[in-house]
Amino acid sequence: MRNVWVILRKELRSYFVSPVAYILLALFAVIFGFFFWNILGFFVFRGMESQMRGQMMPMNINEDVIRPLLSNVSVIGLFLIPMITMRLFAEEKRTGTIELLATSPVSDVEVILGKWLSAVILYASMLLLTAVNFLFLFKYGHPDWKPLLIGYLGLLLQAGALLAIGTFISTLTKNQIIAGAVTFAVCLLLWILEWVSGYETATWARVAAYMSVITHFESFSKGLLDFKDAIFYVTLIFFGLFLTARSMESLRWRS
């Protein structure tokens, strides 16, 4: 476990020494801020409209602000995740530092966990920064904080799964751009798979929709902790990390 910590610290340092982390944090904060402003603006507009008509419409800040916001954020995540994971292994392979890791007394699993956790921590810090926006909601409104927390947990689990897949893809190439592009394509595919459920009800479509990471975010965005969905993400994390381990092993037999 000590080795996981050694690798984790090194990875975090290289994120935060280079501009990578800051650019990602800034991008995420700006885009999140825009969504927040937009959705809140619409919410306020609807509130005024209902007052002018003189009839009270049911309005709920959790349902009408937090829920659509979290759904949108989970999509922004899809775009930023490839940028977090693309360098994890591709860079080490390109510069040859992978030889240092592979000839040190640390196991592959420790290296993989350290790298993946560092990516998760970077993503978590991106999420943490967005909490600033919610301070305003709590200042001027009375949202329920439990659904919000569960929503954030869902975002983290979803990102963890996609980051695990991105980590795996990064072991396949020396080229960061390729790793990033492929990860992006896979993330996007895992997102839009859900669309088939819109017109098709056959078994294959239900399976495809089930595979989509968005399908399982539905419950979290509502603030419900559904264990089936949580387990889906955890399984995906294990699957991604397992593939990474296999890929690292095969690296030795191939090269």
């Binding site: 340092r13 592979a102 007394p105």
Partner: protein, 329 residues
Amino acid sequence: MITVTDLTKRYARHTAVDHISFEVHKGQIVGFLGPNGAGKTTTMRMLTCFLPPTSGTATVAGFDVLEQSFEVKKRIGYLPETPPLYPEMRTVEYLQFVGSLKGLAKAELAKRVDYVCDRCAIVDVKDKLLGKLSKGYRQRVGLAQAIIHNPDVLILDEPTSGLDPKQINDTRELIKSLAGDHTIILSTHILPEVEQTCEQVIIINKGKLVATDSVSNLQNRARGAESLLVEIGARNGLVDPAKVQTRLELVPGVSRVVLKNKRENRSVFEVESRKGLVRGDLARSIVEAGWDLNELRPAAVSLEEVFLQLTGNVAAAPAEEAAVTAGVK
């Protein structure tokens, strides 16, 4: 310290290393010599547990590289051909990272980092970014990284490639100075490097072991015949080289006498003979003729010749000439 038995690495289309066996004893510096693509790096990667062998075994400090790779990894320091540096790290940070990766405890780590910085003369660049270091410094940080955990065995892949002559010299001196504490294998395709730094040579070519012996034995082995350098002087008057030649050729066992160098009152001859004890007869014959025997010593054969002979390189002739003259001076 290192035992390699029938080590083989086969890829889909070719065999990179083909049944190599050798042994390295504790405290030795061994030169791993071969032309580019001979399988040096592949062998080293197998010894460092980076690549698994296709067949055969290798043990480092008594541990098998495949079965007990964890124990092996703890006991080796490895410098790959390009030093494995993270450009965004500072020298000290990097050494601390590698040290903790190799399992050093925190208290020991600080001491070791100071020690290796001192040893490898990188104190001046302690706080510099690795990406900004010159090639020579990068190589030295690479060496510092390899010895940070005081490993029993050091494996260095072409430690002097790409350096300028002064840096090469410094690096060689550094490696030599490390020999007492560590068993060292270094690979190179530069022959003088082996002559200067190593005690033992392992020569491989096209994946096959060609020779393994001490440097001096290999030099002796290079020729079936022995070659001696004889300097003859005369106190009164000149020595006629032709006369010397005819006289020396009469000594039993001598096959050829060549004049190498002629000055006013002394001449140097190279005497080739069958292996055996001709030196006594040679000396007696010279003295009996009334000449002075100033010097009689075996001509050093450079490893280059040995290497070319052993690897069966056809283009040996011109290189051989150059090497012999180098050996004379």
